[in-house]
């Protein structure tokens, strides 16, 4: 653990700290929204520790609060979380730890820990950054969720603070790097349009899944110019530190 502080320079640690602080704020909003939607505090508290993937937890809470089935909500959340598979592909072996350490190291894989790891130049620093950010998020996300749940249940009207705008803003900030690629941007806009058009007619969660159909269009379109890309796209994407 102490080696993390010795391995990483101060600027990287400050960036990680800032990111974890932002995660704490979103956690506040998550806990407040979950409680305001009628969930007891233990739901966001347990989920923030056991799932530890914000977007899917928001989606789960949103779908169930809207009257959807919790199993359907879980499946929708899993679709959102499927991006962790390419994250695992993008990480050099050993970053998440070895043997028993990998049990926890696997759990703390998220947008932030992965992007910080990939930004580091050598295996040692990749591993240190991954663990520093991953453990920071593991502390800040549930901590924020619990405090937010307590504040939310005291205040009742969280919308006055604009907390509901933070979640889409976080996701947007996380994917904006990918959207600089014109092809990805077109696909994302098409997906967003499909999801919006479907929202009035389909049960919660389904419009987002329908948007994925756009990917199939992408696949069928012949690759116009196969660009030389030695690194998987996953290696360049993620949050802005």
């Amino acid at each position: 653990m102490r080696s993390i502080w010795r391995t990483l320079d101060r600027r990287v640690l400050a960036d990680i700290g800032l990111t974890c602080l932002a995660v704490f704020f979103i956690g506040l909003s998550y806990g407040a929204i979950a409680v305001a939607s009628g969930f007891p505090l233990w739901v966001p508290a347990a989920q923030s520790v056991l799932v530890l993937a914000g977007a899917s937890e928001f989606l789960f809470v949103g779908i169930v609060a809207a009257g959807g089935s919790p199993i359907a909500a879980a499946l929708a959340g899993l679709l959102v979380n499927s991006r962790h598979l390419p994250y695992g592909l993008a990480l050099p072996p050993g970053v998440t730890g070895r043997r028993r350490g990998r049990l926890l190291g696997t759990h703390i894989m998220n947008d932030e820990s992965v992007v910080f790891a990939l930004a580091q130049p050598d295996p040692q620093r990749k591993r240190a950054a991954y663990w520093a950010c991953g453990l920071g998020v593991l502390a800040c996300w549930p901590g924020g969720a619990v405090i937010g749940g307590l504040i939310g249940s005291a205040v009742h009207d969280t919308s006055a603070f604009g907390l509901d705008a933070m979640f889409p803003a976080v996701i947007l900030a996380l994917i904006v790097k990918d959207l600089r690629d014109a092809r990805t941007l077109r696909a994302a806009l098409a997906g967003a349009a499909i999801a919006l058009a479907a929202t009035p007619f389909l049960p919660a969660g389904l419009p987002v899944l329908l948007a994925l159909a756009v990917v199939l269009v992408l696949v069928r379109a012949p690759a116009a110019t196969p660009q030389p890309d030695p690194q998987p796209v996953a290696a360049r994407s993620g949050s802005t530190p």
């Binding site: 993008a90 604009g162 999801a195 007619f201 987002v208």
Partner: protein
């Protein structure tokens, strides 16, 4: 809240499945050589899902329009993110803009 047993089952499914995704990528990486196109496609799929999520959470509430305050806040955040503002600034701007608009009476 709905039936507690069902909610716990949903949470368990989400938690276990998410852990499986986190583990699967690492295990595949250790065993199989993937063509770059396949990994790009998986990543593109995640980005499209998330973009759709941004659009629906920013603009809709239930099956209808969310009102102007929230999408306005998210739009400001999007512009800031595009111009590479720090993460925290982007996120707080969304909340502040939305809160201020509601303060002056914009739904």
């Amino acid at each position: 809240m709905k039936d507690t047993t069902l909610v716990v089952a949903g949470m368990g499914t989400l938690a276990a499945g998410t852990y499986a995704f986190r583990l699967a990528g690492q295990l595949l990486r250790a065993r199989i050589t993937f063509p770059p196109r396949a990994t790009r496609l998986l990543e593109a799929a995640a980005v499209i899902l998330l973009a759709a999520l941004v659009a629906t959470t920013a603009l809709t509430e239930g099956h209808g329009f969310s009102g102007f305050a929230r999408p306005a806040g998210v739009l400001v955040a999007g512009v800031l993110a595009w111009r590479k503002a720090p993460f925290l600034v982007v996120v707080l701007a969304a909340a502040v803009v939305t809160a201020l608009l509601r303060l002056v009476g914009v739904a």
